[in-house]
């Protein structure tokens, strides 16, 4: 029954301290969406298979749907609502300029993965892009534009 008891967590979310009450095993995704009403991080599969829920935990792209709140309670968490800075701007501008999104549902996750890639690898090779983005599914097939937008963003960051 211990799993069911709720605790209060103080998250470092998008540069702010945010308190919430949740069970230790409640996934970060549902804390964000249902407890804190931050709906930019999306539910796609619940099993870490599609990447729609990608957030940054200490800068590392992380699937929020399979990450218990307890595991990340003390680390800085960034969601699509909180990204800023040069890399994020370059990525989101490239995404807009190249009309990447179709339905757009997976795009917050795609953008989070792309930002994490370029923050670490400013001039990624094709293989780097493949490796960083292969866990983010898109049913609309925005992939060619995702690839192009990452190259455009990398170019603009030089």
């Amino acid at each position: 029954m211990n799993r069911m008891s709720r605790s209060t967590y103080t998250l470092q979310l998008n540069g702010e301290s945010v308190s919430c009450t949740a069970e230790a095993d409640m996934p970060l995704l549902w804390v964000l969406r249902d407890v804190l009403n931050r709906t930019g991080t999306r539910f796609g599969c619940g099993a870490g298979l599609c990447g729609a829920c990608t957030v940054h935990v200490d800068g590392v792209p992380t699937r929020a749907c399979v990450t218990p709140i307890q595991a990340v309670a003390s680390q800085p968490i960034t969601t699509i609502e909180g990204v800023d800075g040069r890399v994020a701007t370059a990525v989101q501008d490239a995404w807009t300029k190249l009309n990447v999104a179709q339905c757009g549902y997976c795009q917050a996750g795609q953008v989070m993965s792309a930002i994490a890639l370029l923050a670490k690898t400013p001039t990624p090779s094709d293989d780097d892009i493949d490796a960083a983005m292969q866990g983010n599914l898109c049913r609309c097939g925005a992939y060619p534009r995702i690839r192009a937008a990452i190259r455009t963003a990398a170019e603009s960051l030089r």
């Binding site: 409640m26 549902w30 930019g40 599969c45 099993a47 599609c50 179709q102 757009g104 549902y105 060619p144």
Partner: protein
């Protein structure tokens, strides 16, 4: 386009509100009975656009935005004629009204071969059907029909509003109408200039009597690549979908549904669920004719807690009679059905099936395609608030009218008492033509009146409770005489998806008679084959089926275009030259095919893959939704016998292209949907239950597998035709035809898999 001037006598903004609805002509699609929601001084000049005092133009879209970019395209059509400032344009979803009924999808969906398009009787039938659909039709986004459906009315709406603004400016300035001109959101009357925002209140009382639409040569916006209006919001994650609505006091529901069509919950341990944190209610569900199955829902203060409580609650289900039903036994059943004579004839020309009797040689092949799930990235969800005599629904749907009907039926209120707030759709692909999830959410919300309930399906629910593309098989025979193709006899078997859909939603005029979606893609192609005989056997099975992007075309194109390739090979003819030889009188089709082949460099050697493996090209041509598409695929085989696609060149003739960049986006997406399902798409069924549960069981295309795509449009000023679906069907056969050229092995089943050892 033949008639660019239309009259609006006696139809001002005020008059339209009380206008009777007896057999309304096209121009009366301008004004609805339900006015679009206006606020802050914003005024609707007709049912399609509103203007605010600050000059913001709000385009009112009856079409659901599900990724296809229709809001941008529709805004371009309206802004073109309105002559407003593009930067001031925004879009909203429309209310439900008869003026928004989809005429094009139904009229162009009539089972008539395109060779007969100009026939007088065919034009008469289309005219009558259009008239009928304006009265009893359906508000629907689907069938690649949105631009076709709005092409004239949206421009008329923009032009009529512009004329009203000019009349208002003329009255205010005293300058004759003929001396007023409109430029970028301003009416210029001599030295005086009036912004649209200043004029809109006066314009609402004006009644333009004659309005002229621009000729294509005058277009400023249409035909130019325009950025999507939703691009930035979607890149920032600020665009909101149905699953993101948060009405005050919202609670969340998770659901367990009967695993097979004939099962229902017998008992469940309600107390176990209620003992979990955050649980507010446990709701047994009876299911409904809209397609939602019996089950049990749990309502809690977060969706995860509802889902946890559901998992903690043992449910015992009644047994199923379908213990022998699996994807394998279904294929066997379809093969039996296809081997019998009879079935519904869709087309018989020349000697019909008799052509086989006198043939010197008969080629024969049987093709198979599996069930496919839609798997939209946003799982099914709806938020419903049931109050005394009022129901509010927030959801993303391709059919707002049916959604409202489902909510009203389940809640037991009149349709007028239901308010539907259309949301952005996180993918549609035909799945959101069904309203089962809306009926189900209403049933759950009824248990807690006064509380908005957001019902969300898990990905597992989504895979297991879809309305799938039906599994299908086709038996094809070709009669060869004197070294030439004399005729084709094609006979396919599958469930009838549109008929079953019609029964679920109560679309009465398509619940009986032949379902054209079963055999489309074979009988309706442009090839000049001396004798053609196409039949289809409908098979009933307890697996729910519906419209999956491009519907029958999605598998019939694979069957037919692969088989044509087999015939070309048997006749020792180049597959491109063989097809062109069957298109001598169909110059439009031949031109598309040549364009794809030329751009791909068909006559040059295709080279080799980076690892030195040889590359071969395959070709396919397909006609669907009024649009011709040709694909050339470049393919190699890895040492591990995997099919690798390096490049797809695609040529499209869809008439005039409204937004070239948006159109290219649709074609790219359709190609990759076609490629992903050709390579990986399958659905497992055991004991009458779908056992594919998540993206690990039906692998979608991933970024590293994406080939180089080249999309070319045939320049045209013809009326636009469909685009969301037509580039999908030809991908699988183009790839399979390339595999044949490489290996000599003919792949006759989807998904495409080479046997482990070289043949």
């Amino acid at each position: 386009m033949r008639r660019r001037t239309f009259l609006l006598a006696g139809l001002g903004a005020g008059g339209a509100l009380v206008f009777g609805w007896s057999l309304t002509p096209p121009r009366q699609r301008l004004h609805g009975r339900t006015r679009p929601l206006t606020e802050g001084g914003t005024i609707a000049l007709n049912g399609w656009l509103m203007i605010a005092p600050d000059d913001t133009v709000t385009v009112v879209s009856p079409k659901a935005e599900m990724g296809q970019g229709i809001h941008t395209a529709l805004a371009m059509l309206i802004a073109e004629e309105l002559s407003c400032e593009w930067a001031k344009v925004r879009t909203v979803h429309s209310p439900i009204d008869r003026i928004y009924n989809n005429i094009a999808a139904i009229v162009d969906g009539l089972p008539i071969h395109s060779d007969l398009d100009d026939h007088l009787a065919v034009r008469g039938v289309r005219w009558l059907t259009a008239k009928m659909m304006r009265e009893v039709g359906v508000m629907m986004t689907g069938g690649s029909s949105s631009v076709r459906d709005c092409w004239t009315i949206a421009r008329q709406a923009g032009a009529t509003a512009r004329e009203a603004l000019v009349l208002a400016a003329s009255a205010r300035s005293g300058v004759p109408v003929a001396d007023c001109r409109v430029q970028s959101g301003v009416v210029i009357c001599g030295r005086q200039r009036f912004r649209f925002g200043e004029l809109v209140a006066d314009a609402a009382t004006q009644r333009p009597t004659e309005v002229r639409l621009k000729a294509p040569s005058e277009f400023q916006l249409i035909g130019k690549p325009m950025p999507r209006l939703d691009a930035r919001d979607k890149a920032r994650g600020t665009a909101t979908f149905g699953i993101d609505v948060r009405p005050a006091g919202v609670r969340y529901a998770a659901v367990a549904m009967a695993p097979a069509a004939d099962m229902k919950p017998v008992s469940f341990d309600e107390a176990a669920a209620r003992a979990r944190p955050g649980v507010l209610d446990v709701v047994p569900l009876a299911g409904s004719p809209f397609g939602d199955r019996p089950g049990v829902a749990v309502i809690a203060d977060s969706w995860w807690r509802a889902k946890q409580a559901l998992a903690a609650m043992p449910i015992s289900w009644s047994p199923t009679a379908h213990t022998q039903l699996s994807d394998t036994t279904i294929t066997a059943k379809l093969l039996t059905a296809v081997s019998r004579e009879g079935g519904l004839p869709f087309r018989s020309v020349g000697e019909g099936r008799e052509v086989l009797t006198g043939a010197s040689r008969v080629l024969e092949a049987t093709y198979e395609a599996p069930y496919l799930a839609h798997a939209t990235m946003e799982p099914m969800n709806a938020t419903v608030l049931v109050e005394n005599k009022a129901v509010t629904v927030w959801t993303g749907t391709q059919v707002p009218g049916f959604a409202r009907k489902a909510a009203s039926t389940i809640a037991g209120v009149d349709e007028e008492q239901v308010t539907l707030h259309q949301q952005l759709l996180g993918g549609g692909f035909g799945r959101r033509l069904d309203v089962d999830y809306i009926a189900q959410a209403t049933a759950v919300a009824k248990a807690m009146p006064g509380v908005p309930i957001q019902l969300i399906w898990s990905r597992e629910d989504d895979f297991r409770h879809d309305f799938y593309r039906p599994a299908a098989v086709s038996h094809l025979r070709a009669a060869i005489n004197g070294g030439a193709l004399a005729g084709i006899v094609a006979r396919s078997a599958s469930q009838a998806p549109f008929r079953e859909y019609s029964k679920r939603v109560g679309l009465v005029f398509t619940t009986a008679g032949p379902d054209r979606t079963t055999a489309e893609g074979t009988w309706d192609q442009p090839y000049e084959i001396p004798s053609l005989h196409v039949t289809h056997a409908d098979v009933e099975l307890p697996i729910p089926v519906g419209s999956w992007r491009s519907v029958g075309h999605s598998h019939q194109a694979f069957f037919y275009e692969s088989f044509l390739d087999e015939i070309a090979a048997a006749l020792k003819t180049d597959p491109l030259r063989f097809r062109l030889g069957l298109l001598e009188r169909h110059t439009r089709a031949a031109r598309v095919l040549r364009m794809a082949a030329d751009r791909a460099g068909w006559s040059e050697a295709p080279g080799e893959a980076p690892d030195g493996q040889p590359i071969a090209r395959g070709v396919a041509l397909h006609f669907s939704f009024g649009t011709l598409v040709a694909h050339v695929a470049e393919v190699s085989i890895s040492p591990a016998r995997e099919i690798r696609v390096h490049r797809i060149v695609c040529a499209v003739d869809c008439g005039l292209v409204v937004n070239p960049d948006g159109a290219a986006q649709q074609v790219e997406g359709a190609i990759l949907d076609g490629l992903g399902t050709a390579l990986h798409g399958a659905l497992r069924i055991e004991q009458g239950q779908v056992t594919t549960r998540n993206f690990d069981g039906s692998r979608p295309l991933r970024l590293p597998e994406v080939p180089r795509l080249e999309v070319h449009f045939v320049p045209s000023t013809d009326t636009p035709t469909g685009l969301g679906e037509p580039a999908l069907p030809g991908v699988a056969p183009a790839v399979a035809n390339a595999v044949f050229r490489l290996t000599g092995y003919r792949l006759r089943a989807l998904p495409l898999r080479l046997p482990p050892e070289p043949i």
